[in-house]
Amino acid sequence: MKNAIPILTVLLALVVIWYLAAIGMNSAWVRDQAARAGTELTTTELVKQTLTLERPVLPAPHQVAAGLWDGVAGQKITSKRSLVWHGWVTLSATLTGFAIGSLAGILLAVGIVHSRTMDQSVMPWAVASQTVPILAIAPMVIVVFASAGITGLLPKAIIAAWLSFFPVLVGMVKGLRTPDAMQLDQMKSWSASGGQVFWRLRLPSSMPYLFASLKVGIAAALVGTIVGELPAGASAGLGARLLSGSYYGQTVQIWAALFAAAALAAVLVVAIGRIEGVTLRRMGLVR
């Protein structure tokens, strides 16, 4: 694997920088403690202590790795301390929200492409919806749903859908408009109906755009779900894990949850990429 070498080099560089940063950022505290105890520290001892703190300002990579490992493999997966359990809570809301959001995005795109009125009326609102800061909206959504007795997956999924419908909408509008004048004239020369043009030409032509926007959409859905898990009261999901970590100064826990979220995002995007690859190759749209 020739292309693994540059990737590994970058990774190695990042880890080195991270270690240096951890030593730098944690040393103040270590020196402080030493001064208070009246002991002299050699450089080796200083470095050693900065990398093994219980609550470091910046945990070292191996501490985060240990925290991740413990969260994933060291707990029963039904335990509240298991990252697998929290990950599953986040994943299920993400997928639900993503399904709702992409469906809404696709349907709105179909409407926009077929109706001038919708084109002019829906787009500005769709854009406006994305300019509202999600951090401000999310707690309100959670509270409104909670007052109606709905908690758990659905409110988070709504926030995820809110963020994921937009890229899908924009991508699909572009995709459904890719057929050129000649292809549309060809259809007209066969007296094809609007529905026939849609199913036989527009929809298949839009597939590359659909998949590209689904990849953005699912990452956005994950962000939306995690944001939905941040408001006080949530006790499950990677977002809640992030928040409780920051309450108690458990930086290792925060970083472990962050990495779990990043890994989840990567897995989801790669999964869609795989489906994309197979579908587009089958359709002869890539070779």
Binding site: M182, D185, W190, S191, Q196, R200, P204, R282, G284, R287
Partner: protein
């Protein structure tokens, strides 16, 4: 002329553009009979494409009268009077060749067994037997264009309208396709409207050559071919062919007038 398939009477078409009106067609009179092979030739922008599109009801004349098979172009299109071959094959990459040819048939509501029969028949007509299961990217450009002709033939329209169908192909492939097209025309007896930039192609293929000139787009000459129906490729070296080609060239030069 008896049983006119296409009858244009003082057809004009003016496009309203940002830079003012463009007279793409001005007072075009033309009658095309059943089984004619009519070529349209002329400098770029003289309205060849526009005229073909008007016949196909893809554009509306702004003045004059145009009848196709005794109907308005729009009615004729709905009655499946013509198949249109564009400059690019425009095959769908996600459909096989057979699937592509079957596309207009599906749209027009032919039954599945009927579609299969028709696909086989037109594949044979354009000499692509056995290629139905392939995908477009597995075929050469010339084969793709033949497939697109097959697609236009599949629903048995009497008229075949072709806008520079071989324009993007090299000369050798073009010669072969010209031969194949003549053969197909003799076998099927269809009426063909064919736009080209090439004088030899026009002379080789046509029973009538319509010479057009631009600004405003109009017909300057209609030349009836004196060549026999049977035309091997080497007829292009015959004195009669050379005389006709010369006549077309002269007509094109006249049409160009002062700005030649």
């Amino acid at each position: 002329m008896m049983n006119a398939v296409i009858a244009a009477n003082a057809v004009s078409l003016t496009f309203q553009t940002a830079d003012g009106p463009v007279h793409a067609l001005k007072d075009v009179d033309l009658t095309v009979g059943q089984g004619d092979f009519v070529s349209f030739i002329g400098p770029s922008g003289c309205g060849k494409t526009t005229f073909l599109r008007t016949i196909a009801a893809l554009e509306m004349p702004t003045a004059g009268e145009l009848m196709v098979n005794g109907m308005t172009p729009d009615e004729a299109r709905k009655a499946r009077a013509y198949g249109y071959v564009f400059q690019a094959p425009g095959l769908y990459p996600w459909r096989t060749i057979a699937g592509n040819i079957s596309l207009p048939l599906e749209i027009m509501g032919f039954s599945k067994p009927d579609r299969a029969k028709r696909v086989d028949r037109v594949l044979e007509l354009v000499d692509l037997e056995g290629f139905g299961g392939r995908f477009p990217w597995q075929l050469s450009g010339g084969m793709q264009q033949r497939a697109s002709i097959a697609r236009a033939l599949a629903f048995d329209a009497d008229i075949l309208l072709m806008d520079e169908p071989f324009g993007a192909l090299d000369e050798i492939v073009r010669d072969r396709l010209n031969e194949a097209l003549l053969e197909l025309w003799r076998k099927t007896g269809k009426t063909i409207g064919f736009v080209t930039h090439s004088i030899p192609e026009a002379v080789y293929l046509s029973t009538r050559i319509v010479v057009m000139s631009p600004r405003p787009g109009r017909i300057t000459r209609v030349i009836d071919s004196t060549l026999p129906a049977e035309r091997p490729l080497d007829i292009r070296d015959s004195p009669e062919f050379i005389r006709l080609a010369h006549e077309v060239r002269e007509a094109l030069r006249e049409g160009h007038g002062d700005d030649a």
